[in-house]
Amino acid sequence: MKLLYFAWVRERVGKPEEEIVPPVDVHTIAGLMRWLADRGEEYAYAFENPKVIRAAIDRTHVKPEAPIAGAREIAFFPPMTGG
């Protein structure tokens, strides 16, 4: 699946997007964030406080407990500040 990062999540991870294949025991957005945080220093920094990070699956906002099965595109970003 494709991961997208925006704003300071993107800056901390150091890239705007990447393709990943999460392990089969990662079922939810929260689980995916925990798994990502273990992938290295930059990820640990980006996901150090998962409570403040928002997520979207296939361009729709979702909660941390949302299942990731079947997702093509998952995005992580800080709370939005448009308007």
Binding site: F6, A56, R59, P78, M80, T81
Partner: protein, 159 residues
């Protein structure tokens, strides 16, 4: 209902958008516009510019969902939402919402509803340029509260 949603780098012309929306129609009795403008300061400190990052594709989808919800809640005759991205200098416009209805209350409420949701749900992130290094703007809990109140509020208002 006529609905226009646009994401662009360039500044917009609010008057031209209103003219497009109202056109030759004679059923529109009320038009409300909201224009958001880049202020010269953020939390009391002067800024050089804002840069707006966005999530292409999701922005349009998310705004579209809220426009559809506004349409379902209020008897609207037209809606236009334009949001800029990229670098924006103080005094320049950032966002435009235009709502048209037969009567004033639906137009006012739908415009305020759309702005409250744009602030908290549309995937945009503002970065402030000061003399020093750029800084991401923090989301405000009052914006979440403003969006939240529409969940418990009745749809169409008195006339």
């Amino acid at each position: 209902m006529t609905a226009t949603i646009r994401l662009q780098r360039e500044a917009f012309d609010a008057a031209a958008e209103v003219a497009l929306l109202t056109g030759e129609r004679s059923d529109i009795g009320a038009v409300v516009t909201f224009t958001g403008i880049c202020r010269g300061d953020e939390n009391g400190e002067p800024i050089a510019a804002l840069t707006l990052e966005h999530y292409p594709g999701m922005v349009e989808a998310e705004i579209g969902r809220h426009v559809a919800e506004a349409e379902a809640r209020w008897p609207l005759l037209g809606v236009t939402v334009i949001h800029r991205h990229g670098r924006i200098a103080p005094g320049e416009n950032i966002v435009l919402v235009v709502t048209a209805s037969s009567h004033r209350h639906p137009a006012f409420e739908a415009a305020e509803f759309l702005m409250d949701y744009l602030k908290t749900r549309a995937p945009f992130w503002k970065q402030v340029e000061r003399s020093g290094e750029p800084r991401w703007v923090d989301a405000k809990s009052v914006d979440d509260a403003a969006a939240e109140r529409w969940r418990t509020r009745p749809g169409a208002a008195a006339e």
